[in-house]
Subunit: 147 residues, 2 copies
């Protein structure tokens, strides 16, 4: 293995299903599984959860969801589902942000890594569209942090 | 228009083309166009540029690129192309971050909004795949900022 391949082999991923029901005007996010969580280098008794945000938030709809915390394992089965009521034209203006988080001893939520999915070309017509997304560590976003 | 539709109608977007040439092991990002830039509410003499990062960075390949600065207009034609040499297995571990930035009077780069594209399912076999991505304002990522 080259340097590049050996270091990037363990990229954490999240498996997500997305669905839009045009009749019910309902957008559903299926949180399925986290994989390669050992790349987070967390202690075995650490709980992690996933925070889901559909952004920008509108004032009329709930846009933030959290899974229940589970002990970190290399593979974590999430099996949680969140739904939002939204018109299709609104949906296509949104971006889905999915972040793996821990809660510190002081009760503060800290994001470890995340995926961001533009819904501009959302076309989940009745069918659930399931995909794996690489989770980008927040340490790679220093320029946002330093703003 | 409902409140939600009227406020989200002007979501800024970037049009990108992505291509992977398996023979040359070359990943190419075509920066095509920014649209609805008036949502950034910048003065007319403000220059903006786009920063492209293929993350995580490997030590052996350049991973950060910037377009030349152009005056902000509602629609900005970028027409710049960046290429990286990378194996297909490495590419699929990467995340593409594309941010619209300004340079402040003090010469400091500030990100305004961005898209993040997981390359886990990259399948741009020889053909350029062109899509529009919503740009999520950095103000929606306070939890990353506060880390």
């Amino acid at each position: 293995l080259s340097y590049e391949e050996s270091t990037s082999a363990g990229c954490a991923q999240i498996s997500l299903g997305l669905k839009y029901d045009a009749t019910e005007k309902c957008f559903t996010v299926f949180l399925l599984q986290l994989s390669s969580c050992t790349t987070f280098s967390l202690p075995a008794d650490q709980k992690i959860h996933v925070r889901v945000a559909v952004l920008p938030c509108s004032e009329t709809t709930r846009c933030l969801f959290r899974t229940t915390g589970t002990l970190v394992r290399d593979t974590v089965n999430l099996n949680e589902v969140f739904s939002l009521h939204m018109s299709y034209s609104s949906l296509r203006q949104k971006t889905l942000r999915v972040d793996v988080c821990v809660t510190s001893n002081l009760g503060r939520e800290e994001g470890l890594a995340g995926a961001q999915i533009s819904l501009a070309d959302a076309n989940y017509s009745g069918e659930r569209c399931t995909k794996c997304y690489n989770l980008l560590s927040h340490i790679y976003m220093p320029e946002i942090t330093s703003k």
